[in-house]
Symmetry: C2
Subunit: 473 residues, 2 copies
């Protein structure tokens, strides 16, 4: 049978089944963006022929990695908000005031390119506006699982303990815009782009709006992507307004179900995490981000034990700093080994499943992505086993490729990336965009942001101003 | 004045003083391997001329990074010993039995090249034998701070709780060999190679031998590089033999002083860590290694608070997995933020100091390395700020280069590395060795190790055998 493409590699991790679905000396047959067969090279070569044969020598093939939660726009402010309590107020705020739409659009291009270079094929972006992100993801050829922020709480400086003031009209308007984005983009570009609904947090929208958002999402068969139990500030707002912590409150409202993608669960108790998992809702865990900004390891282990699906997320670059799911795989294993004082609690293969098939389940995309199986879309990455970090390669009696990917790889082992069977990145270069051209002039642009932010920086920065003065940056 | 070389960069982090010693638009004048001036580009260009001018556009220059503790030989067994309790017995042991001298020599070449690619210029290797390591470090042009293992406990399988059996002759012989290595290599190759004394642990050598080793080290003005309080197995041996935990015992013996480089302190109490720091001894912390193999964050924070110097180490590749001090900088900050639930406890600049000047102090090399200052040897690395992980670059009102290096960089931002003013690595290539030629055939070689280890693997592996059977590797 004549098909579009055959991809061969000495090692393929399909992620089929309960483990990593390894095949040696294997091949994948791709036609019209779809995997029509994945299995032994001999069988595939006998059954199929293709004009385009990609023979990845000394490579391991994996499903494209899934990033469940990102704010790529903020990459324009990378590295400005670590090492401080309350990173948003003391780190980010002075700069945000002076950062405009064009800056953020450029930030998104930066963050998306960085993620792809590190093996991510499904970009779980979240922001406002998202039109530019949709266009860029379309252009670069990636898969997008995109969410527009819905917010009702007025943007102003609140005193500690002050309840957020809601602006009904603003809330309704942001929901309308999310619907509008959905109508224009959902299912478009060969289904590469999917739109979710994004209430910013249970404290940032009213109960009424949150219920309405869920209804609108369900009506359209999409999900609610919600920052959930993300810290003491949220808890304080919820206790004050409703006398309840977030998760029991969500359950009482009927909001905990399969339509919910609960992000962070930063200070959810173990019981609350299990409550979310039991409801069928899924979790996105951003290990690096929450580790850096809060010094916390969220309860993904009990969530998984209760049968819940967890995706990994790289969150944002000012506080976390990189969009690299390979890095997040490493961090989720290390952080949990430390949290539980147990080197066995979170092994490499589990982290790999979170970044692939389990992540796909969590975001509701496992019918099309997350594993290399017949019938799924052909999203995959090749890991170059000749890179020094992957050396040497053992195959018998034990394979060390997965441990080396999770614990040793930096990200530059990703030598090829395909989405819908199309090569979007190869040997350090994007096939459809020019990285250096996009980055060109970025440092000049942020000079302006820095200059304009000067006064606010000196007024609001608590730590960084002192670090600059003391010569520590 | 005519000199050998001028290196220019828009950003230089000298690490002089208490912070990071930043200079903008700066240059470094190098002659006969030494920094003769570091400062403003204008001044240097006026005072000096050189045949060789390296103008690093869009780069930040840092001192070469210092790795205080490595077992590079074990890189030949990379990725075989994670995700299990007792990594040495259950992970490493089945393979070690079948790994020979040539394999280990190749492992060292792998580990040393990997470290240099990630910005390390001072290789703190520890092993047995070390002759090949000395030769390779000499050949590749790096700086070596090298230790030969001294061991008195017989190599055999001990029952849990069984006291190690000492072999006096073996202990004496390994000390003689350490002395011999010292005589042949210490101070050689323009002083690039330095030899320390390496009793494997206070439980692996007798009290008498440990005292003798310290005496021999002091006589020669070098240090004792000792695994110290590295876990419950050691504590059990010490309690059984001497009725004391390691650190108070070392103090009573008079072994705690400036000549001691105490590695790990895995389960040292805070009080014990302070006891070591107070004595003037220094600490090497291997965050990733101890995090992965034990799920523990050792007490480097109280050690530093007590005024002690801490170097970072990448330890070994089977259990930790990579020789990348940039990665260890990230892990020491994240782990301590989590340990203390405080994002401010371990900021980026402190980690950078551990990898440079503080590390140099810890290993007793701060007179020649660890900062870019007049009179020191010219060991430095260039970080390419056009790499996507370092973008964008803010300089005012806050610089984000150090946070981005610590939290975002992967290692491939290192575009140039110099030791003694000589370029040893540039744009992905070593100047004196051929990476691909060295790695060539490595996978074939380890096939033999795997095959021979088969029986022991099935007999001793507790976790990995099951993971292979369940399709999780």
């Amino acid at each position: 049978m004549r098909i579009d493409r055959i991809v061969k590699a000495p090692h393929i991790y399909t992620m089929k089944g309960e483990g990593v679905g390894y095949f040696g000396n294997a091949a994948i047959a791709v036609d019209r963006g779809k995997i029509i067969e994945a299995g032994s090279r001999e069988m595939i070569e006998k059954e199929y022929s293709a004009d385009d044969v990609i023979d990845l020598k000394d490579h391991a093939l994996f499903p494209g990695l899934i990033d469940g939660h990102m704010h790529t726009a903020l990459a324009i402010l990378r590295g400005l908000a670590q090492d401080t309590n309350n990173w948003m107020m003391f780190g980010l705020q002075p700069f945000v005031q002076h950062t405009g739409g064009e800056d953020y659009a450029l930030g998104s291009r930066l963050g998306i390119m960085e993620a792809i270079k590190n093996g991510t094929t499904t970009i779980g972006d979240y922001g406002d506006p998202m039109e530019e992100v949709c266009r860029f993801i379309n252009r670069i050829g990636a898969r997008g699982n995109l969410t527009r922020t819905i917010r009702e709480a007025k943007q102003k400086v609140y005193q500690p303990g002050e309840l957020y003031e809601y602006d009904r009209e603003m809330g309704e308007e942001s929901l309308r815009r999310n619907i509008d984005l959905f109508d224009r983009w959902h299912g478009k570009k060969d289904g590469r782009i999917r739109i979710l609904f994004g209430p910013q947090g249970p404290d940032f929208v009213s109960r009424e709006l949150l219920l309405k958002v869920q209804e609108e999402a369900k009506k359209r068969g999409t999900r609610v992507h919600l920052h959930t139990q993300q810290g003491s500030r949220e808890t304080e707002q919820m206790m004050k307004r409703y006398g309840r912590r977030t998760i029991p409150w969500l359950r009482e409202l009927g909001l905990l179900d399969e339509s919910l993608l609960a992000v962070h669960l930063t200070d959810a108790t173990e019981e609350e995490a299990i409550m979310v998992a039991d409801s069928g809702a899924s979790m996105v865990l951003c290990p690096g981000s929450i580790g850096i900004i809060d010094g916390i390891v969220p309860p993904s282990v009990p969530f998984q034990k209760a049968g819940g699906n967890v995706a990994l997320g790289s969150d944002q670059a000012p506080g976390n700093n990189c969009h690299n799911i390979i890095n997040e795989m490493k961090l989720v294993t290390l952080f949990n080994k430390i949290k539980y004082g147990d080197p066995e609690v979170m092994p490499a293969w589990k982290a790999l499943r979170m970044a692939t098939i389990e992540g796909a389940k969590a975001i509701g995309m496992d019918e099309i992505a997350g594993s290399l199986e017949k019938g799924k879309r052909a999203d995959m990455i090749g890991i170059d086993l000749n890179k020094i970090t992957m050396k040497p390669v053992y195959t018998h009696p034990m394979r060390n490729i997965v441990p080396n990917l999770v614990y040793s790889a930096r990200g530059d082992e990703v030598s090829i990336s395909m989405v819908e069977g199309e090569v979007i990145y190869r040997d350090g270069k994007f096939t459809k965009v020019d990285e250096q051209e996009i980055l060109q002039g970025m440092d000049e642009r942020v000079k302006r942001i820095g200059k304009e932010a000067e006064e606010d920086f000196y007024a609001f920065s608590r730590i960084h101003r002192r670090l600059m003065e003391e010569g520590k940056l």
